[in-house]
Symmetry: C2
Subunit: 338 residues, 2 copies
């Protein structure tokens, strides 16, 4: 949820009995210190910090240029300088600076996307005794992560919003749905499995547990909360997206990610061979996203969302978290614990 | 499951307490009479008959020729005459002849794929008091089917093997996973919802009920049973397919369907713009499929399978059906009813 939530959301979730998460992929070390510090000031609850750990691509001016050429029609339409850049923070992989923040501030859980960082960095994280999670989109990835010492595996079904965590080369067309993925990963590993993708309410929580998960990760559902940091226009589009209104696209970053299919996704993607390697594709798109939004149009915006988005409702994050837990217990015929 | 099972499988399922189904899309009226008659002789259980109801495409010699040209490399490789045709039965939509069989033999349930037949034909089916089911892959399709009077809706998530039931124009990239689809359709219609796609064992049954389904449709799991009519080579490939080893492809029929990704799917598809309209693409592929199998190679075979295929185990259909029900009751903490 990089860019979509900070400590306000994490505090609310952890105070309500969940595991609040601060997405750090687009934060500087100073930003991490600020958000984690704010979290610690406001709650005694446990904290997860989430990082990307992608390889940084080598500069590829030819690919960048071809990509800008493909997007030039939108630059012209919006009256932007064809070499415009964005002030938006780039996506950075977990590095020594981030590792030092983790060692210093000691979050209870550190979770990763796109595999795991190098053994040296991972050991640094482990010195803090943080539990380490990462994301699997296949049984093969889950086994690999368990072999590397992950304490739990996030089984990310293709319904999930945002980036596919895929790191062992599975194709876009081979992505597996949550319903099929969770039991197969649960059968394949000994560590707990956290189901992600398509889980929007208590029914999803109960179903995930039935499939063999020990917990669920809900993302899109929390975008509806007032504590999320998404823009009003994104929020409005999210409230109107139908079940089949999202798709996996690489046009915003260079890696497949699920978002609302709008004009630019339809016209340039959903998957474009021209998109430079992750995360470089974002550079030329970022000015278009900002200009589109400034004009009050979601045509060129990046709006990550999962396929259960239509189940979402505006509700405070603490209330939503407690409601899901209470309704799940009701569904499982467990006596109400209130 | 057209081509993958007949009355043997249906009898075993219905005797075990399920609803056995005879796929009729590739049967002549005489074939239907034979299979339904055989079913009635052997069990008092309820019967579902399943039909396709696609529009028959206008002849398109140019498209056919381009398709044969694309496939010619395989014809050459296998030493086949470039105009070879197949003796395999074509896929036929539900028509007056099929309707008369339904009226005559009175199955308890008639289910459809790709929408519904014309009102005239559907009324014919209803005169028999058969309950009418059809498949929805989106909320929009589910509402449409309910409006047409369907007695229950099959919510087909993209994990499902075989053809997508899509009939209101949703794109391949917009297909929705079972986990996200079932609760949204359950919220949108008043009639019972039958979950399909990714359901391979008792965990899947319990999860589907938690998501709001009233029943489940299991297909791929029954391919493993000795009563299924799939070939030994197909059976062997099915036993070895990984979670991410299937994909949606149109190369075998012209419509997206989930099958094992083998050489021809990788090389020609998964989705080919050259594939003629459903079901015409099958004509030029059929001789390749037969010749490939005759050589003991699955390279060019059509092998429908869902993403939960790795959960499948060879077991007699009656035993499997009872086991799923018993284990589901155990998971739901319901006292064992044996």
């Amino acid at each position: 949820m990089a860019g979509a939530g900070l400590s306000d959301l994490a505090v609310a979730v952890s105070e309500a009995g969940g595991l609040g998460s601060i997405p750090c992929a687009m934060l500087t070390p100073e930003g991490m210190r600020k958000e984690i510090g704010s979290f610690r000031e406001r709650t005694q609850g446990p904290l997860n910090v989430n990082f990307f750990c992608h390889p940084e691509p080598a500069p590829n001016p030819a690919a960048e240029q071809a990509w800008r050429k493909r997007l030039s029609v939108y630059y012209v339409e919006l009256g932007l300088d064809s070499n415009a850049t964005s002030a938006a923070p780039p996506r950075k992989p977990f590095d020594m600076a981030a590792c030092e923040v983790v060692e210093e501030l000691g979050p209870e859980v550190a979770s990763f996307h796109f595999g795991l960082p190098s053994a040296e960095l991972l050991d640094g994280g482990k010195r803090t005794r943080a539990k380490v999670l990462s994301t699997a989109t296949t049984v093969e990835e889950a086994k690999w992560l368990e072999g590397q010492g992950c304490d739990a595996i996030i089984a990310q079904g293709l319904e999930a919003g945002g980036h596919r965590g895929t790191f062992l080369g599975s194709e876009v067309w081979a992505q597996v749905g949550t319903f099929a993925l969770v039991p197969q990963i649960a059968d394949a590993v000994q560590v707990p499995v956290i189901a992600a993708g398509g889980i929007g309410d208590a029914r999803g929580l109960v179903a995930a547990l039935a499939l063999g998960a020990s917990a669920v990760l809900m993302g899109t559902a929390y975008l509806f909360c007032p504590e999320s940091t998404i823009s009003p226009l994104y929020r409005q589009s999210l409230a109107n997206v139908p079940d089949n209104g999202t798709g996996l696209t690489n046009v915003f970053s260079g890696r497949p990610a699920r978002g609302i299919v709008n004009r630019i996704v339809r016209e340039v993607g959903p998957i474009s061979d021209l998109a430079p390697d992750f995360p470089s594709a974002a550079e030329a798109i970022a000015p278009l996203r900002a200009a589109s939004e400034a004009r009050g149009s979601d045509d060129l915006m990046q709006m990550w969302a999962g396929q259960a988005a239509p189940l979402g409702r505006p509700q405070r994050a603490a209330d939503f978290t407690k409601r899901v837990a209470r309704e799940a217990l009701d569904l499982m015929l467990v006596p109400n614990l209130d």
